[in-house]
């Protein structure tokens, strides 16, 4: 079952590249993209009662205008449980700072920290990681 994906980056060129790459390797089911964190949150809120369409993976940029990635993560906690439980977050950023990486992993929903641009190999690794984590869910919780 291919995951539903939500792309959040204020630069639509990034979103374009991510979508194209995912399409090339048939990574995702439904792909939604937003250049504003606020509008992405509103979109998630709208989907809360629609379990099917809630994205499985959210690709989130850190350095965005108006609302950056961390602010998005703070707001994400306030979303209904249905969204919080289903959606896993992958940070997709140009940041090379360990500090940003550490901050991101403080949020339990964040499962991966990727550097731009998205590539086929990065997506394959992600799929493998997702499969592994599902098998040892209890262990990884710790």
């Amino acid at each position: 079952m291919k995951p539903n994906v939500l792309l959040v980056d204020d630069n639509n060129i990034v979103n374009f590249i991510s979508r194209k790459t995912m399409e090339d390797c048939d990574f995702a089911g439904h792909i939604a993209e937003y250049t504003s964190g606020q509008r992405a949150l509103k979109y998630l809120e709208r989907l809360a009662k629609n379990q099917e369409q809630i994205p499985d993976l959210i690709f989130l940029d850190i350095k965005m205008q108006l609302m950056d990635g961390f602010e998005f993560l703070d707001q994400f906690k306030k979303l209904p449980a249905s969204v919080k439980e289903k959606s896993k977050i992958v940070m997709l950023t140009s940041s090379l700072l360990d500090n940003d990486r550490r901050r991101a992993f403080e949020h339990p929903q964040v499962i991966e920290f990727l550097n731009k641009p998205v590539t086929k190999s990065k997506l394959i690794a992600l799929v493998e990681k997702l499969a592994g984590s599902r098998e040892q869910e209890a262990g990884s919780r710790e």
């Binding site: 204020d10 060129i13 990034v14 590249i17 790459t21 504003s36 108006l66 140009s94 590539t119």
Partner: protein, 716 residues
Amino acid sequence: MPLKFTEKFSTGRVLLILYCLVCIVVGYNIFPIMELSNKSISRYHEILSTSTRKLELMNKLRKNVNNIQSAQFKHVLAYSASLMHLEEEKLSRALLDNDTILSEFGRLVETKEEQGLLDEVLETRKINAATRAELIRLSASSDRQMAFDYYVARQEDSRIHYSNAVEELMTYIVTHTYKEINATERFIKKERDNINLLLSLSVILIILTGTMVLSANKKLNRQNELLLQQEKKYHTIVETTDEMIFLVKPDGKIAWTNRAFRENLGYSNEDLTGFRFQELIVSNDKPKVIPSNQPVAGIKEVAEMLVTWSGEKIYVEGKVLVSKMGDLPGVSQYFIRNVTDKKKAEELLQSTTTQLQRVLNIFDNSFWGSDVIRNKMIYVSPGNEKVFGYPEQDFMEDSELWFRISAEEDIPKFSESMEILRQGKLASIVFRINHPQKGQRWIETKMVPTLDENNILVRVDGMAIDITDRKKSEDELVQNYAELKKINSELDRFVYSTSHDLRAPLLNLEGLINLAEEHIRSEAEIRQFLAIMRETVSGMDDTIKDILEYSRNARTTLASENLNVEEMIRSAVTHSSHRRGRDKIKCTVKVSQPAPFFSDRLRVSAVINNLVSNAYKFSREDEPNPAIGITFASDTKEGILSVEDNGEGIPEEYRERIFEMFTRASEKSEGSGLGLYICKEIVQRLKGSIEVDSVPGRGSTFRVRIPNLTEKNQEA
């Protein structure tokens, strides 16, 4: 003797004078009285003897008259001539006797009344003599009967008259004498009473004065005793004191000296007697306070250098008391101390101070010392005037001057430093003063305390330096440091942001290249990728240009030239409106520039370009009539640029942040995030201001004020 006690008005003397006065008064009165009394007594005797003699004479006269009577009668009765003759002889003898008596009595008559009575007696005697002569003639004529009858008729009658006159005179003498004696006795009695009164008075006075003299004498004795005691005490003091006391006679010779004087000078009393004081004084070029040979009455200060018996020199100081004898100078009493040690210490201190002074004078810093107990300055170096603007003397005379010229808010620092000094620790304070010439100056003072044996702060020495220049550079340093810190943090953010902003387009390019490589793409797809690549590269170029713009504003100096603002606005509009999809945005430009507007061309142009570019960038696609309004109005003071759009607007919470570095207040923003930051930096540099009004979803208005740098406003 060193002292003489003279009393002009002692009690004894007064009493003596009083006593003499009483004696004179009494004597003056008693002698005339006594004299009068003596006179009265002799008069008494005189009256008595005269009266006695008078009465004797009268008695004799009366006896003779009786004899004459009997003789006459016998003559009448005689029968013989011889008998008659015998009787006639007796008669004439008695008559002769009476003549003598009456003439003597006449000499003794005292009063007119007596004289009258005597005259009466003499008159009746004459009549009596006449009748007697007739009788004798009749008797002789032998007509005896007729003689007898005549005798009976006449002689008896005249005889009685005569006897009566004599009796009356005698009665008068007796009564008169009695009266006289009585009067004299009364007078004498009265005088005696007076004398008695005076005498008793004198006695009382004598007793009184005597008592007073006695008591005065007693008192005098007591005083004398006390004086003697005092003199004894005085002598003890004079002889034991370390003060040199001696007397100098008006001729300059030493009359008397005390022990201290002799010991200090090493002379014996005999050596000094007759010695001239002047000879002990070491001649010195300095003029004497008191030339010893010309003393003036009163108390004067003396300071001399004396030579001792062994030739040593000693310094003395003290007072001289010069008494005056009339107009001539009297004895001079000297009270002086040996101050040689003090003087030597002073000289040493003086020379040390002079050396120190010479060193201190070299510095512009102020050195000072203050007596904490007396709240007085001990010394203030000349450098003080340079530091504080007041001459040293002002500080010496007015210990509060420090506080008055110090800034009020710094005064508490003084008391704080005093607390530290009281603990015996060094203190240092920095405070501001109001320098009379240089205005506000910063002063640093370092202070060293001196504590006495009881750990009480007695003295503070210090040094004051004007640190205004240092402070200024320090302040500048602090300011520079703050600026550097700001720049540094900006640089950090800059690096962070550029690493992102410059990497982001590169990573996009990498992604696009990946896409192109990993799949076989259609030509249309490739063209799409290339277009996106071009956009990415151009955005990156804009970012780099912005960075350069920012750097240029920060580094280059201000220029000033007459600007055609309208032209600059139109050029910016043309540049921005050429972009894709912007042709339907309507732009109106209104410029009112009546006077030349001077400013920095590149900077003003950067502001205009940024604001116009933003207005185009943030237009709303859903707005049917997108519009931009640009106005500029200037006068000689300033120019006001206003750029208004009906685009997205800026949410309230971002309005403050839009002027910060790398802030993009819109998801649409593709720029570097430096545009408005650069605008703000430039406007600040031009000493102008920038503000924004915005309603999200309705549009924004940016307003910029830029000072007109007309020739006279221009920076040098």
